[in-house]
Symmetry: C2
């Protein structure tokens, strides 16, 4: 079940399946039909069957889906059972918001360090972790080997910060600065460009308001 | 130039064009070939020509693109010249990060109010604006008529908050809570589900690490 041939558009829907199935489990619902799941998710039942068939399918005729089994399978496909260790660079409002966001630890990501250059912030406690000085970053990475670096630094600093974490061996970046990073091919980057999302909303408003 | 027949995938690329062209203007570059633009953006020159042709095309053979004209046209297509008024609900770390993000005002969005229920936060100054009590929200919306409400509230509160702003006439929501909102069809919603993005990164790590 490597998921190698799974289209990206299906992959992008998996987190949503994961979220809904998690809610069902929270509500102690252990069995769900594709029709019920489709109503909850607002996609067609046939799409759900098609999507889940990409992974070998987990449904049984006349029974529906075993929620726990499906949830666990998607957890594995998404790699959420790997306990990826993360660090946050930048302990401004955004870094703090990300550190305090309960959804990450719930999904198996372990925050092990927060770094900043600002001496007013270094030493502060955020989400139970003491913010370290940025000069300690290289040693920390070499020692703790985090899997993911979350970049919550200003645009002007992000290229330098990305180079530093990558040189020290981090292979996956989650980047919130509004810059497309130019990095070695084996480094995975997921960009969150918030302005792009706001501009898409603005486009729709402009178009629908015509 | 309504852009009505423009595919969504092209629309999603427009904010990036807008960003790059803005950078060129900042560097006082007023003319650019599709080849130069393609190198900077990492897409093919033919894709750029195709994309921009959707809007009638702005290039001239042997001259390239007039950066300012192209920038202004994309600004209009994206509705960034409308000066949309925004409010932020929730003045926690995320709300503060969004309020302080310079990129929004630079793109023509005007922040006119911030609201919270927490009496420790109400009265605080954020990005030059005093945080108001949530109980003042309805009156404020009726009076100021903001175009966009940014929802930076916890998951447990977001349904109620969304209903309240929509009932008072706001037609566009930018939602950061990890909940798919169920709203009237004439309300535009753009969701930013941060966990989904992190899970996509995790999926790629899991896959590439196989």
């Amino acid at each position: 079940m490597s998921g190698k041939q799974v289209p990206l558009v299906v992959i992008r829907r998996l987190p949503r399946y994961h979220r809904y199935l998690g809610e069902l489990l929270n509500n102690k619902i252990y069995r769900v039909s594709s029709t019920e799941l489709s109503e909850k998710m607002g996609v067609t039942a046939s799409q759900i069957r098609q999507d889940l068939n990409c992974f070998g399918g987990f449904g049984q005729q006349g029974y529906g889906y075993n929620v726990e089994m499906l949830y666990d399978s998607i957890t594995k496909i998404l790699g959420l059972n790997n306990g990826y260790k993360t660090i946050i660079i930048g302990a401004g409002n955004l870094g703090k918001a990300l550190a305090n966001y309960g959804g990450f630890s719930k999904r198996g990501f372990e925050l092990c360090g927060i770094f900043d250059t600002d001496e007013n912030v270094v030493g502060e406690e955020v989400a139970g972790i003491t913010v370290k000085d940025y000069t300690e970053l290289s040693d920390f990475i070499k020692h703790e080997k985090p899997d993911i670096a979350i970049l919550a630094v200003p645009k002007t600093a992000v290229t330098e910060v990305a180079d530093e974490v990558v040189q020290n061996g981090v292979k996956a970046l989650w980047n919130f600065a509004y810059v497309d990073l130019d990095l070695p091919g084996d480094v995975l980057v997921e960009n969150v460009h918030l302005s792009d999302s706001l501009m898409t909303l603005s486009y729709k408003m402009n178009k629908y308001g015509e």
